[in-house]
């Protein structure tokens, strides 16, 4: 009896343990963004073409970063293709965690991929992740409200214009707010926006000796402007609004203006997702003093971790999912407005895309202007426009984000917030050995 139980148990465990063994199966780890959901839906076409099976693992963004890091560090080899962003790619590429993607074949047409986008994902002349979709930031505004108030949005607005418009269109009694901006703390939330604002006010995160610059006059001016504008002409409780919350507010018709990711344009323009699809127009990201880094640059990209044992097949998948043909496939099956934006010249030359996406030209200009190699007016030792491509930035950005949210909610003054942030960043940078 005893032996039978033990044997059954062991046999059971053995069956669970074997897993599924197939000739060539790739495991793809990705996030749940709409464009990735489409990629998963269309992936049977890739299998048809190549015979390669695909397993999908959809993870929350931070869990994905943690899982892939652990996997690479322990050489687990769990993932063959991973979705990463413009922040991790240069860091991981430098650490030799990713396979270089310079050999995706002639038909890949690297020159067709926008140069600023390629630059975001390149380290020492090598491309470490292929862009799946890319974005900059720009200004969304409600054409109907502007017309009614007799206002005209210039193609290149300044922050002085924006503040004037916000004041004129702020009608909180009707649930209509002058401007919606990110207030939720996080390096990828409020700090993405505040980073661009500091850039255009002429500031920078660090000087050439890696000394934090958060108490500089530029930071002070930029953050004071941000807090004033959002407090006076923004929605209530702005500190809980991130990209998604503001997108919902804008699509429900509650914001007269919104400065945020260009990648949301397709969704704002889609009547199924938005009440203001036919009332929205677009302008460049506003500038204050200098043009550098006024709009951010971001790409969701696909990379092959060096722990993968199926790098060749993985590259085949990436070449497919980031190709011109794939974009056409999405355009033809899901509608051209849903085509992955921001990566290829050919998309923006395609008349069908231009017809379906009237915002295409403005997005294109924004992406071409977002040059990660000159993010600020003054010289900096780092790459990245709305982030600093060093491993410590995730922590730094989170901490500074908290301080600025505290200033926005009125818990501290802007001066106090920046002082706290400066000390925290100094401490981190000392501990990490950048400064003595």
């Amino acid at each position: 009896m005893r032996t039978t139980i033990a044997a059954t148990l062991l046999a059971g465990i053995a069956t669970f343990g074997t897993g599924i063994a197939a000739a060539e199966t790739l495991t793809i780890a990705t996030v749940n963004n709409a464009d990735m959901v489409v990629m998963q839906k269309l992936s049977p076409k890739f299998k048809e073409k190549t015979g390669i099976d695909l397993n999908w693992v959809i993870l929350e963004e931070n869990v994905l970063r943690q899982r892939v890091t652990t996997d690479i560090a322990t050489k687990g080899g769990q993932f063959d293709v991973v979705t990463i962003g413009a922040y991790e790619t240069p860091i991981w590429g430098k650490q030799n965690w990713l396979a270089a993607l310079d050999d995706l074949g002639d038909s890949y047409d690297y020159k067709d991929v926008f140069e600023p986008v390629r630059n975001m994902l390149t380290v020492n002349g090598k491309l470490y992740a292929a862009p799946f979709y890319a974005e900059s930031s720009f200004t969304y505004y409600r054409k109907d409200l502007f017309d009614k108030a007799g206002l005209t949005m210039p193609e290149q607005p300044t922050y002085t214009d924006i503040k004037k418009f916000a004041a004129a269109l702020h009608k909180p009694a009707d649930n209509q707010y002058g401007i919606c901006l990110r207030g939720k703390p996080g390096w990828g939330e409020n700090m993405a926006y505040v980073g661009t604002l500091v850039n255009t006010f002429g500031g920078r995160w660090f000087d050439m000796e890696w000394k934090p610059q958060l108490t500089s006059p530029e930071w002070k001016e930029a953050v004071t402007f941000y807090v004033d504008m959002l407090k006076n002409y923004g929605p209530p409780g702005a500190t809980s609004n991130g990209h998604n919350e503001n997108r919902a507010l804008f699509s429900s018709g509650n914001c007269a203006m919104w400065v945020d990711a260009t990648a949301a344009a397709g969704h704002i323009y889609n009547p199924a997702e938005s009440k203001v699809a036919d009332k929205t127009a677009f302008a460049k990201a506003p500038i204050a003093k200098v043009e550098n880094g006024a709009g951010w640059g971001w790409a969701w990209a696909l990379g092959v971790p060096n722990s993968s044992k199926k790098a060749a097949a993985a590259k085949q998948f990436i070449a497919w999912a980031t190709s011109k043909d794939y974009i056409t496939l999405v355009g033809e099956t899901q509608g051209w407005v849903s085509a992955p934006p921001g990566t290829r010249k050919s998309t923006y030359e395609n008349p069908e895309y231009k017809k379906a996406a009237p915002f295409a030209d403005t997005v294109l200009k924004a992406i071409l202007a977002a040059d990660p190699t000159r993010p600020t007016a003054q010289p900096v030792p780092y790459a990245g426009i709305q982030f600093v491509a060093i491993p410590e930035f995730q922590g730094i950005g989170a901490q500074v984000g908290q301080s600025i949210a505290a200033a926005l909610s009125g818990q501290t003054t802007v001066d106090q917030a920046l002082q706290t942030a400066q000390s925290a960043v100094e401490r981190t940078m000392k501990q990490a050995g950048y400064i003595k």
Binding site: N33, R67, G76, R247, S251
Partner: protein
């Protein structure tokens, strides 16, 4: 009499309030799951809207719910059986043949629950990698059995202590071996307690998310991994996330209702004396 009635009413009201408070998040999740994405994040949440099942359709379209649900069932019941198999002899030994170190052993077992799980993440990942257990159901069964073992041992120990030793002694007089004693006397007597211990372990495993997210990839992910996959860094997701969560808690909710009596009895048993 009057006073008694008032006290009764006050108790009822408090009970209902507590129940309402506990149930509110679940009710809100259910409501959100039948809203559209835009309604789900509306700043003044609307209570009047046209319910839609589109989120459930979208969730099922993107992910294979049944696969995740089956993994959850295998992992939670498998780990509970394994934990019981290990815990019954351990609790038996400590309850009926205590030594001066029994108390210390019990406390030491419980102390393993005090370390944050992430502290063991890298060692466990390395061991699992070498044994080929990452992303396997067997791996999760082992991890969860070990995680729940201290609680299971403690609960069984309490139940075993309730059983009069005289019954076991009588059995021994009649020539029962320790194994006979376990099988024919102890297990039938402690069955209600074991059942409630098992139920608790099943529920704890069902809801655990740290290890299931960190040790699975494409094959062994249970429902917690299924839920987590519906949050998105860019794009609205609350309604679909709520639909996925509702689908994930539904089976265990039904299971919990059906076994409510056992569970309450198990959790309060021993404590009342």
């Amino acid at each position: 009499m009057r006073l008694k009635l008032d006290r009764h009413a006050a108790l009822s009201v408090t009970g209902w309030l507590a129940a309402g408070l506990l149930f509110f998040p679940i009710a809100w999740m259910l409501l959100t799951s039948v809203k559209t994405e835009i309604e789900a994040v509306a700043t003044t949440p609307s209570l009047i809207f046209t319910p839609t099942l589109e989120n459930y359709v979208a969730v099922q379209e993107r992910a294979d719910y049944l696969k995740f649900a089956l993994n959850s069932v295998v992992v939670s019941f498998g780990s509970t059986l394994l934990a019981l198999a290990l815990a019954v002899p351990a609790a038996y030994g400590m309850a009926f043949f205590p030594t001066k170190r029994t108390r210390g052993t019990l406390l030491w077992m419980l102390s393993t629950k005090m370390m944050p799980p992430v502290g063991a993440l890298v060692p466990v990942t390395l061991v699992f990698r070498d044994l080929g257990l990452i992303d396997t159901l067997a791996g999760l069964v082992v991890v969860y059995a070990l995680i729940n073992l201290p609680i299971v041992v403690w609960m069984l120990y309490t139940f075993f202590r309730e059983i009069p030793r005289e019954i076991l002694e009588a059995g021994r007089m009649d020539g029962a071996t320790p194994l006979d004693e376990l099988r024919f006397l102890l297990l039938p007597l402690a069955l209600p307690g074991m059942a409630s211990t098992g139920l608790l372990a099943v529920i704890l495993t069902w809801n655990e998310a740290f290890w299931s997210l960190n040790l699975t990839a494409a094959h062994a992910g249970p429902l917690t991994a299924f839920i987590a996959s519906f949050s998105a860094p860019e794009g609205l997701f609350w309604a679909k996330l709520s639909a996925a969560s509702t689908m994930a808690v539904a089976p265990i909710l039904v299971f919990g209702w059906l076994s409510q009596r056992q569970l309450v009895r198990g959790l309060t048993f021993g404590a009342v004396k």
